[in-house]
Symmetry: D3
Subunit: 311 residues, 6 copies
C-alpha cells in the first residue's frame, strides 16, 4: 500500500525508506523510536514503542520492512509500528516504489541525447560532448537535477537536459542568423554536468546535500573547468573552448542568480532563458498537480508568489 492511499485503521505491511529517525523516551521513561518513512508517493510519521533496536538513527537512508496500523495524532496520520527490520539482500522490492522518478522513458530519452550529440555539425564541439558523455554520462543519466524546488527525483537531470535540448534545437533554427547551433547544443548538453560532483546522494540516489567542493566552487565553475581540460586534451582551438566555458559559467543569467559572468554571446543569452523556461515549467507542473482546477496554490518559495490552476 502506497503512503498516499493510507487512511485511519489501515493495516500496513511493506518496504519503506527510513527518511529520519530519533531514539526517544516517553514521560514514563520507556524507550521508543520515532521515524519518518517515505515511498515514491509521500512521507509519513511512525513510532515503534518499547524499542531500543537493532534499527537506530544510524540506519537513516536505509530501506526497512515494517508492519503496523495507521492512526491519527493532532489531525495528522501516522503509523504505529509492531514489527521493524532492515531490508536484506533476499527481499523483493522495487527502488522505483520507494523513491520518486522522472515521468519519462529513461532509455528512449537517453537515446535522444546521443542522437542529438551525433547531429552536432562542428567536430570540435561534438568530440568534447562525446568525451564528457563517456566520463560522466552514467551519473547524469540517474541523478536528480536538484535537492528540492524542481526535478528532485531520479533521472531528473536527464529529463531537464533532454527537454532543454529539444528547445535549443528548435530555437537554433529560429535564430540561425545569430546562433551557432553546435555551440548552443553543446552548451545545453553540458551546462549542468558538474552537478555530478556538486551533490552528495543517498544510497538510493536522491540528493541529500551539497558536497564541500560543490559549495566552495559551484557546478558552473567546476563544469567550465572540466570542459577546459578536455578541450585542451583534444587540442580544440582556444576560442571554442572559451565560448563553451562561457556558456556554462553564464547559464544562470545574472550574478544574483549564481552566474559567474553575465552572458556576452547570443548562445549564452539563449541558454539562460532555455534553462529558466524548463525549470519554471517543471515547477508549474509539480505544483499544479497538487492544486485543484479553479484554485490558487500556496505561495511558492522559488517564484515568490501563488500560481493559479485554471479550468
Amino acid at each position: 500500500m502506497y503512503i498516499r492511499d493510507m487512511s485511519i485503521s489501515d493495516q500496513v505491511e511493506g518496504f519503506f525508506l527510513l527518511q529520519d529517525a530519533y531514539a526517544k523516551t516517553t514521560l514514563a521513561g520507556k524507550p521508543f523510536l520515532s521515524m519518518v518513512l517515505s515511498d515514491c508517493t509521500g512521507t509519513m510519521d511512525a513510532q515503534i514503542w518499547d524499542y531500543t533496536g537493532p534499527v537506530t538513527p544510524k540506519d537513516i537512508g536505509a530501506v526497512v520492512k515494517i508492519r503496523g496500523t495507521v492512526s491519527e495524532f493532532k489531525g495528522t496520520l501516522q503509523i504505529t509500528v509492531d514489527r521493524l527490520r532492515l531490508a536484506d539482500a533476499g527481499d523483493q522490492y522495487s527502488v522505483s516504489d520507494l523513491v520518486p522518478t522522472a515521468p519519462i522513458d529513461v532509455e528512449a530519452t537517453w537515446k535522444e541525447l546521443q542522437d542529438i550529440i551525433d547531429s552536432i555539425e562542428d567536430q570540435d564541439y561534438r568530440s568534447i560532448c562525446q568525451k564528457m558523455m563517456n566520463r560522466y554520462g552514467e551519473k547524469v543519466k540517474s541523478l536528480p537535477a536538484a535537492k528540492g524546488i524542481h526535478h528532485s527525483f531520479l533521472n531528473g537531470l536527464l529529463m531537464h537536459t533532454a527537454y532543454m535540448l529539444q528547445t535549443a534545437d528548435f530555437l537554433a533554427g529560429m535564430y540561425g542568423s545569430v546562433i551557432d547551433r553546435s555551440l548552443l547544443i553543446a552548451g545545453t548538453l553540458l551546462h549542468d554536468f558538474a552537478k555530478c560532483e556538486e551533490f552528495t546522494t543517498s544510497s538510493l540516489g536522491l540528493v541529500t546535500d551539497y558536497s564541500m567542493k560543490g559549495q566552495l566552487l559551484g557546478h558552473l565553475v567546476m563544469g567550465a573547468h572540466e570542459v577546459a581540460d578536455i578541450a585542451a586534451e583534444l587540442r580544440i582551438p582556444e576560442e571554442k573552448s572559451v565560448l563553451l566555458q562561457h556558456l556554462i559559467l553564464s547559464h544562470h543569467g545574472e550574478p544574483d542568480f549564481g552566474a559567474a559572468v553575465r552572458p556576452m554571446c547570443a548562445e549564452g543569452e539563449l541558454l539562460s532563458y532555455i534553462d529558466m523556461i524548463d525549470s519554471r515549467m517543471e515547477i508549474y507542473r509539480e505544483t499544479l498537480e497538487e492544486v485543484p482546477a479553479g484554485e490558487f496554490s500556496k505561495r511558492i518559495f522559488a517564484l515568490e508568489r501563488r500560481i493559479y490552476h485554471h479550468n
Copy 2:
C-alpha cells in the same frame, strides 16, 4: 546612392528623409539651413548656404530631393547641398529606400499569422483573435515594434509577433501538460497590439514618440482593456477573458520591467520568456551586424554590457 556608400567628393542627387532641420546664421550674418538627412542605410548631416526657404524646420519628417557634394568636417562626412526641394506627387521614389524595413517577406508572414489564428482549437480565444485582427490588423502589419532598441523599423511588430508565435507553438507542444495552447497563442498574438495606440508615428510610419494615452496607461493596460471589451461583446466566459487579460498585463514579467501584475499561470510565465527571447535575439542580430567577428561591441544600453561577435 545610399548614405552608407558615400565618400568624400561624391556628387549626390536623390531623395532623402528630412530627419531634422535648423535655420541658422553664419558669423558673417548669412542665413543657412542645417539638416540631418536619412535613408534606410543611415543618417548624414547636410548644409545649404545662403538659404532662407522654402524648405524650413516645419518640414521635418517630409521627403526632400537634394543635389550636392560630400565633404568632411571634423572627421565626419557631410553633404554641402546646392539644390533642395520638397518631394511632390509626381516624384518616383520608394519608401523602403528611405526608411528601414523588417528583413522579412511581409505578405508571407502575414499569411502565417492568419494560419496560426485559424489553428486555435478553442473557439472563444479564436474569435477574440479574429475580431482584434479585423480591428487592428492593418496597423499591426506595418508598425515598428519600438521607438529604438530593437525592431524599430517598418513591419517590426509583425516580425516580432510572428517569430514569437512560432516559438509559442513549439513550446506549447513541449509543455503540453501545463500549457493551454489556445490561450498561449492568443496571448502571444495580442500581447503588443495596443502599441498601435501607444506610439505616435511619422508620415512614413516610424515611431516618433509615445502618445498621451500610451504614456499614462501603457500598452499592457490598454491591450487588456481592448480584449476585455471584445470578450464582453462576444459573451466569452469570464475566466477566459480574465486569463487573456492577465497574459497581456503580465507579459513584461516583473513590475520593474513594466508588468502591471506578475505572471500567475504557466502561459503567462512562458509568454514573458518568449517575448524576452525574441527581443534579445533581435538586439544581438542588429548589434552583431555592426561588429566585426572576433571583436566586442560597445556597451549596449538595454543589456548593460558589451557583447562578443565570435568567429
Copy 3:
C-alpha cells in the same frame, strides 16, 4: 461576555463567530471538535469533547451559540465547551458584537462622501463619480479596506476613502496652482472601488481571500477599466477619462508597491501620498492601541520596524 474580558474559570454563554474548526480524535480514540471562536474583541481556542456533530468544519464562517468554561492550556486561555449549536433565525445577537467595525459614524461619513461628490466643479468627473456610486456605492459602504494590515474591519473602505477625501480637499487648496481639484477628488473617491471585486468575503462581510479576477488583474486595472467604460458611456472627453484611469493605475506610487504605471501628473503623485498617509496612520492607530505608553511595539511586518508609543 466579550472575549477580551474573559479569565480563568469564567462561565461563558453566548454567540460567537466560528472562525475555524477541526474534527480530531484523542489519543484514547475519542472524537472531539477543536474550534477557533471570535467576536469583535478578539479570538479564542475552544474544544468540545466527545462530539461528532451536528456542527462540523463545513460550518466555518457561521455564527454559533456556546456554553462553556474558560481554562488555561500552556499559558493560553481556552474555552471547554459543554453545549454548541448553530445560531438560527430566531436568535437575538448583533453582528457588530461579532465582527470588528470601523470606529466611525457610518451614516454621517456616507453623507460626507456624497457631499464632496456634489462639490466637484467639473461636470464630467462628477457624473463619473455619481454613476460609480450608483453602481458600487452600497458595497463600498460596508466592505473592509483590506484582508489584514490596516482597516480590515467592516466599513473600513468607507473610513479610508472618507479620510483621504478630507486630506485631498485640503491639499487641492494648498497646491491650487498645479492641482485640478475635480480630478484629485474623483481619483481619491474611486481609487479603491474595485476592491469590491478584488476580495471574497465571509457571510458577515469580512475579507477572506482574493478573488480569481482580483489576483490576476488587481484592483488598479479593474478600477481603471470600470472608469473607462463609464466614461465612454457618458461620452466624456478622452483626456479626462485617461487622466482618471491614470490616477487609479498609479495610486500605489511605485511598481514595487503594485502601481501599474508611475504617476506622471501632479494629482497622481499627490494621491499616492494621501493613500500612503492614511494607511500608515491607521497602522499606527491600530498598533499603538496595543502598546503601553513608553514602550516599543513588536516588529510590524508592513513597516519592517518597531514603533514607539511615546508618553
Copy 4:
C-alpha cells in the same frame, strides 16, 4: 530688459549677475572675456572682444553693468558686449531683478510662522522653537531651500517650511488620535533649520555649494544636535528632546534618501510624507511652468520620469 525677453539685434543696457567668466584668446591671438550673465528670468552667454580687464574671472558672483547687442551663434542667443564694468555703491538696481525669489509675500509668511509657533500647546516644544527662531530665524527667512531641484530661490526655505506647517496643522487635526500636534509642528518648523550651516551662499544669497560641515555631517545630524543642546539648556524632559531630534533625523524617511534613522513614531512618519509632498508639488510647479498644456516634460532627474501638463 529681462533675459527671457531678448531677441536678435536687441540693444541691451543694464545690470546682470556675472555667473561665470573665462579669459580666452582668439585663434588670431586677441584676448577676450567669455561670460555667462543671469537675471531672475534666466541666463545668457556674452563676449567682450579685445578685453583684458579690469573685470576678470575673480569677479564671478558680482553684479556688472553692460551695454551690448544680442546676436546668435549656432542657434543660441548671446550678447556681444561693448561696455562692461562692475556695479558700484551708487548704482540703482534691485536684487530681486537679478536673482529668483519665492513667489510668496515674505513678511506675511514670516508672520504665519510666528503665529503657528505661538499656537504650540506644549510649552517645552514651544520654547525650543522660539529659541531656535531667535538664533537662526533671520537666515531661515532668506535662504533658498536647495542648490537645485526645487525651491532654489531666495526665501525658498521659508516658503517650503510655511507650506509644510499648514499641511502639518491640518493633518494633526485629521489624525488626532495618534499625532501630538505640538511635536509635529515643532518638528516641521525645525526639520531643515540646519540648512543654514549646510550650504555656502553667494553674495546675493543663492546656494553655491555645500559646506565642509554640511557634507561631513549633513543637516539632519546638525539640526538634531542643535535641538539637543537647546533642549538641554532649557532643561526640557529627555523624552521630548529625543523625540524632536528623532523627527529631524528621520525626516527623509528612508536611509537611501538620507535619513539617519527610519521614523519610529507617528509624527516622524507623517513629517516625512509632508516634506515629500511639498518638495514634489514644487517640482511639478516649476516644471509645468515650462511645459505647454497637452505636452510632456523632458525626463526630470529627481523623479526619474517625464511628467504631463494636462489641459
Copy 5:
C-alpha cells in the same frame, strides 16, 4: 556542574541565572513554574511542579539556587527541580560562571587601550579621547558589544575595540600617505562608545534590549553628539571635531547598514572596513567553535550563508 556537561539522570545542585519563567497550570489543574535557566555554557529548560512561589516570573534576571534531576522530553534535556530559591547575599558563586565573558585578559587589554591613547600624536584628538575615557571608560570596559550576533558577552565591547585598535595602528602605518593616525585611532577608540546608552542591560550586565534613546537616535548619532560637546568644551578646532564626528557617523559604511552618512575621508573609509573585519572574524570564531572540522555550519543569519570549517 555546567549545563554543557549535564546528561540524563544527573543530580544537579547549584546557582543559575533565571533567564525566563512562566507560571502555568497542568491539565489536571495543578500549578507549576516553567523556567529557562542559564550559565556561561548554555541554557536549559526546567520545571518545578506543584509550585506557586515565592519565585515567580517577576524574578527573571535574578540568580537562583536549584536542586533537581536531569531528564529528557521530546529529545531535549530538562531539569525537574525539587528545590528552588533566590540567591542571597551570603551565597558564594562567581558571575563569570553564570554569564559568558570575553576570552581576553581584561586588565591587560584595558592597559593596551590606555597606552594607545597615550600614543596619539595630535594633542586635540588625544585630549578628546582622554575625556571620553574618564566619562564612559568603566562602562565600556564591562559592556557586551551587542545583544546577539557577535561579542554579546561581558567585556565584549572592550575586546572588539582593542582588536580594532591594533589593526588601525597597523594600517595607519601601511597607508601613511593618506591616513592621519591620530584621527584614525581616536575614531576607532570612540566609534562604539555610545553603546553605553544604546543598550539596556540585565543586573549581571548582559544586553537585554535597546533603550528608547538608543532606538530613536542610534549610537552613531549619540556618539557624534557626545564628541561634539566635548570638543566644544575643550575648544578643539572645528575641522577636527567635525572629522571625528564624521568617522563615528559613517562607521557602518553604507546607509543600508546604518551609516548616517557615507565615509568621505580616507580614515572613515578605513574605519568602516576595520569594524567589518573584526565583527566578521568574531562571527567566524563563535560559529566555527560549534562546527566540526570538515563540515558546514547552518545558515548564519548575519552572513546570509553557511560557512565551512576546513581541516
Copy 6:
C-alpha cells in the same frame, strides 16, 4: 619638458607617446593630423598642419619625437607641431618618462614577495605559489593592476599584491584562531595573477583593453583554473586545492562586485576586505594628490561620492 609643466608659447622638443591620432581635412581642404600625446605626467592635444604622413593613425601606441609650440584653443592648451617622426632604435629616452609607474622600489618589493612565499609554513600551498611565480612572475612584476580607477600604472599589480600581503600577514596574526596563515598568504599572492591573461597591453605595457578570454571568463575563474591545474600536477590534497580556488573565486566578496561565489571560509572573507582596503586607499591616494587641502574632490565614479582632503 613634461606635459604637466608646459604653458603658452613654450617651445617643445622631445619624445611622447602617441595616444591617439586622426587624419583630418581643414574646411579649406588641407590635410592635417590631429593627435593626443602623453607622457608620465599627463596628456595634451596636438596638430601638425599640411601633413599626410608618414606618421598616421596606424602608429597609435608608438613613441614619437616632436618639435613645436604650445598655444591655447577654447581655454585648453595644445601643441602646434612643426616636426614629427617615429622614435627609432637609436633614440635615447626613458620609458618611465613616458608612462606612469608605481611609486615603489620595484626590486625591493619583488624581494619582499619572494620572502613572504618562503615564509609559508604549509609546504603544499608554498609549492603552488612557487610554481605560479615561475610561470607568471615576470608578467605580474610589470603589469598594471587595472585599466583605470586605481593602480593603472606599470608595476601596479606588484604594488597592489605586495601591500595586501603585508596586511594579510598582520591580520593572520591578529585572528590566528580562525585564520590559516598559509592559505591566506597563498590566496592573497595569487588572487589577481590571471590579470596577466585578462588584459591586452600596449607596447609600453599599459592596459589597453580586456582580452576575449578575459571578458568571457574573468580573472577569477581563470586564476582558479590555473591553480587547480598546478595543484593537480603537484598532487596536492584536494581540500587544499579547493580552498585556494575558493579564495580566488570569492575575492570580490559579492556577486554584484564580480565574485563567482561568496566567501564561505574565514580566509576568503578576510581576503575580500584586504583587497577592498588596498583598492580604496589607492583611490584616495591618487585622488587626494589632485585636490587641495580643505577642498572636496569631484564625484568619484568608483565610490559614487565626493571625498574630502582634510587639513
